[in-house]
């Protein structure tokens, strides 16, 4: 993520050359302006959909809001400055985005698309009927004035093109900064793995809402500009087709590239302007674009800009992959010792004698099923504590209650004497409980460094921060934390490799590394050895022991040899209840535990 300015430079060149070259190809100034306007709304949409993965069908609502608010203020002489009207229109769209987003971002996938579509449609009807007195209803608002620059009037044609080009360029630079900021890194993490992003301590709903509002602001500004350069605000801005057209343009141009919507708009609008008049194919251009759109989605193509970027990055990826030998030297990557992490969760010790983690009467009932019932135990500070039990004993449920992924039916979890029950996994992570999962929860499209950075950023920045302008890799303590965690799990030689090409054993270590990089005081490891080859097991056991030297560990694991070698204390669950709690020696001697594992308990129990 080195600061690279060639995309900005290229964009400047394109914007400068466009009015010289494109008019010969059938692009009028009006067409160029409309393309830039669609490109502008597309910048926000691409941050929302391309970067964060939120597919909205309601951008028209914000486009229209920005446009009509600005046009109304100008036409009713509330304001005389076009720039101020544009600003207020943009702000209004942002506020509307805040309201819709508040409802929409709690939902994912299908729900999100439906809700945004429905609110887009609601805005359309609002404009059309109840607010017709202000918006002109079906007639729209004609006669929107053009802006002034000092005493210079930015007239239609060439001057207006330059005004739009400058605004678009500013929007583009900002969008790129956002994408490469810590904020943008979290957005990309949300797209890659929403659950893990939350578990590392980022407030996913806050980030989603923020990017939703950003997209609404972009749309609002574009809407306001639409009225200004056309000197007419059309009601169609609010229509469903507007939202749909934006989606199609973005996919054709390339999702997640920022310039994709601009490219898509260029194709769409050029075809419309130039083919509309041709007698026999007049109506067919949209059909053909529709077919191309479907083909792109079916064949998993990335759109024009996406394919170009892919062709470039593939070369880099190929060289990175060449450096990944098959099942890279399993035993060879033994970590020497755990590097000290520069950023540690602040240690809030509510009571001096409090254990690191204390479960008090934890129960979880699902209907009539008692998954966990009345389990209490203490994890001593600095110890490696194991939780074992046969299948169905309730280990996973118990573990999820410790991080508050699952809220207990009754009972409490105390972290150094402080109650964490009911806070949710994001806040327990912020308070210093890290967890690695039984099934890897990685950000597969990001590199090893970027994966660890997501976790370290949560420690450095808290649950939410809108630092849109700085570079994601510019926070020194975060980079040191990433390096330390990477060193500890022995992945330094893989720093810039995309995670999806790593062999399984290394992915497994990265899973632990992410939990480590949030700087936890208590680290929970859910089956750290699951699915590993014998050689990898040896290495990972050493890693766990090493990590356990500097912090409190709680481990769920099936590998009994590993448990008895590592753990200082063992809690045994059986059928949701606490069966035994003691040192490895005590547990090994415990007849009830032996019976539970061999299934003999039923025979001894009275019926």
């Amino acid at each position: 993520m080195r600061a690279r300015f060639w995309p900005e430079a290229a964009m400047v060149a394109v914007l400068l050359l466009a009015p010289l070259v494109l008019p010969r190809l059938g692009f009028s100034y009006d067409l160029l302006q409309r393309i830039l306007d669609w490109g502008l709304i597309g910048l926000g949409f691409d941050l929302l959909f391309g970067a964060t993965g939120l597919l909205s069908f309601g951008q028209a609502a914000f486009f229209g809001t920005g446009g009509f608010v600005a046009a109304y203020l100008l036409l009713h002489h509330v304001l005389s400055s076009v720039w101020l009207a544009l600003a207020l229109g943009t702000l209004a769209a942002g506020l509307f985005g805040l309201a819709v987003g508040w409802l929409a971002v709690r939902r994912i996938g299908i729900y999100f698309a439906m809700i945004t579509l429905a609110f887009g449609q609601m805005a359309y009807f609002l404009e059309n009927s109840p607010l017709a007195a202000y918006t002109g209803g079906e007639n729209g608002l004609p006669g929107v004035p053009v802006p002034m620059l000092g005493s210079y009037k930015i007239a239609a044609g060439m001057p207006m093109y330059w005004a739009l080009a400058v605004i678009f360029l500013a929007g583009f630079v900002l969008a790129r900064r956002i994408l490469h900021s810590p904020f943008g890194a979290v957005l990309r993490a949300i797209k890659g793995n929403t659950a893990r992003t939350g578990m590392t301590g980022h407030s996913v709903p806050a980030y989603k809402l923020a990017v939703f509002v950003i997209a609404a602001l972009y749309a609002g500004l574009a809407g306001g500009l639409l009225g200004v350069f056309q000197s007419y605000m059309p009601p169609e801005a609010f229509s469903l087709d507007t939202s749909g057209q934006l989606v199609v343009q973005t996919v054709i141009g390339g999702v997640g590239t920022l310039v994709g919507p601009l490219l898509g708009a260029t194709i769409w609008l050029w075809l419309r302007d130039n083919l509309q008049q041709v007698p026999h194919i007049g109506a067919l251009w949209k059909l053909i674009l529709g077919l191309i759109f479907v083909a792109l989605v079916v064949m998993l193509k990335r759109g024009i800009a996406g394919e170009i970027r892919w062709a470039f990055s593939r070369r880099r990826l190929a060289s990175a992959e060449a450096g990944v030998p098959e099942e890279a030297g399993e035993a060879a990557v033994m970590p020497p010792e755990a590097a000290a992490l520069p950023m540690q969760a602040p240690l809030v010790v509510a009571r001096a004698d409090a254990p690191a983690l204390r479960a008090i009467g934890l129960s979880k009932f699902y209907g009539g099923l008692h998954a966990v019932e009345g389990v209490s135990f203490d994890v001593r500070t600095g110890s490696i504590h194991a939780v074992i039990g046969p299948n169905g004993a309730g280990k996973s449920t118990l573990f999820k209650m410790l991080t508050d992924e699952v809220s207990p039916t009754s009972g409490d979890v105390l972290l150094f004497g402080q109650r964490v029950t009911g806070l949710g996994p994001t806040h327990t992570a912020q308070l210093g409980i890290g967890k690695s999962n039984q099934l890897n929860q990685l950000f597969l499209d990001l590199t090893v460094t970027e994966n660890l950075r997501i976790a370290a950023l949560a420690r450095a920045r808290g649950t939410f921060r809108a630092d849109l302008w700085r570079a994601a890799d510019s926070i020194a303590p975060v980079e040191r934390q990433v390096a330390a965690a990477m060193d500890t799990v022995g992945l330094t030689h893989r720093a810039d490799v995309p995670v999806h090409v790593l062999p399984y054993g290394e992915k497994r270590r990265l899973e632990i590394g992410i939990a480590l990089a949030i700087g936890p005081n208590v680290l929970l490891l859910d089956e750290p050895l699951a699915g590993m080859s014998p050689a990898e097991r040896v290495a990972t056991r050493a890693l766990v022991r090493e990590i356990g030297r500097t912090r409190t560990l709680v481990v769920v694991e099936h590998d009994m040899d590993a448990i008895f070698e590592l753990a200082e204390r063992i809690t045994v669950l059986y059928e949701g209840r606490l069966l035994a709690d003691g040192t490895p020696e005590e547990i090994q001697r415990n007849q009830a535990v032996q019976d539970a594992y061999l299934g003999g308990l039923h025979e001894h129990e009275p019926a």
Partner: protein
């Protein structure tokens, strides 16, 4: 081994890129009850899921009555007379008991009548109008086994049938399993309750960390406590 009804040869299975089963082989003869034991995480459930086709093994062969079935979709394997009773039971909670049974019987060539099933499980007859969600754990397990029976499945794969059930109910289900075995049905059972499993199994396999480490008889296993401790206990 031409007499075996189910023959698994050197299968390797993965979840994503995590290697779970390593060259696992086993065979189950006609009318035989075979128990597959091992600690959790050993790969027992994965073995059953691989046989049923829910998780296609990457390599190896699985023969059902001499015909290769590996790589076939589960519905085809079920129609050949093999039936998995999954660990989580997977009762359709929105359907009644009777609807669960009728659904299971839909594609079975020689489906049992409902009456015959109810004779076997009188409790299910009492509950036949109840929604699956309202059943107790034991009743759900009965219904799960009944769905395999109504299809007249030749080979039944039972995944932890006694998990999470009260001792009395386990005793009932052990009796049902013994009855099935006595009728000459072929069963491959995965169970952590070793005592219960050994009470009706003819032969035993032990899996450890995805490798088949031992096979023999229940008597042989009982006679060797160190074996139990090494691969099953703690």
């Amino acid at each position: 081994m031409s007499t075996s009804l189910l023959e698994v040869e050197k299968i390797n299975s993965f979840y994503g890129d995590s290697h779970i089963l390593f060259d696992v082989s086993l065979s189950v003869g006609r009318n035989e009850v075979v128990a597959l034991l091992g600690r959790n995480g050993a790969g027992k459930t994965t073995t059953l899921r691989s046989i049923m086709g829910v998780l296609a093994p990457r390599s190896g062969t699985i023969l059902l009555d001499g015909t290769p079935i590996q790589g076939r979709p589960p519905f085809e394997i079920a129609r050949r007379g093999l039936q998995l009773v999954p660990e989580e039971r997977a009762i359709f909670g929105q359907l009644t008991v009777e609807e669960n049974l009728r659904l299971a019987a839909l594609t079975a060539p020689k489906a049992w009548s409902l009456d015959r099933i109810y004779e076997f499980f009188p409790r299910l007859k009492e509950r036949r109008r109840s929604g699956g969600r309202q059943l107790s754990g034991g009743e759900q397990q009965m219904l799960a086994i009944a769905r395999a029976l109504i299809r007249d499945a030749q080979v039944i794969l039972l995944d932890e049938p006694f998990e999470g059930l009260a001792p009395l109910i386990v005793r009932d289900l052990v009796r049902v399993s013994r009855d099935l075995a006595a009728q000459g049905r072929t069963i491959l059972v995965v169970e952590q309750n070793v005592v219960a499993a050994l009470s009706f199994a003819d032969r035993v396999y032990i899996l450890n960390n995805g490798h088949m480490v031992w096979q023999g008889t229940p008597a042989g296993l009982r006679a060797d406590p160190s074996l139990m401790k090494a691969h099953l206990g703690i």
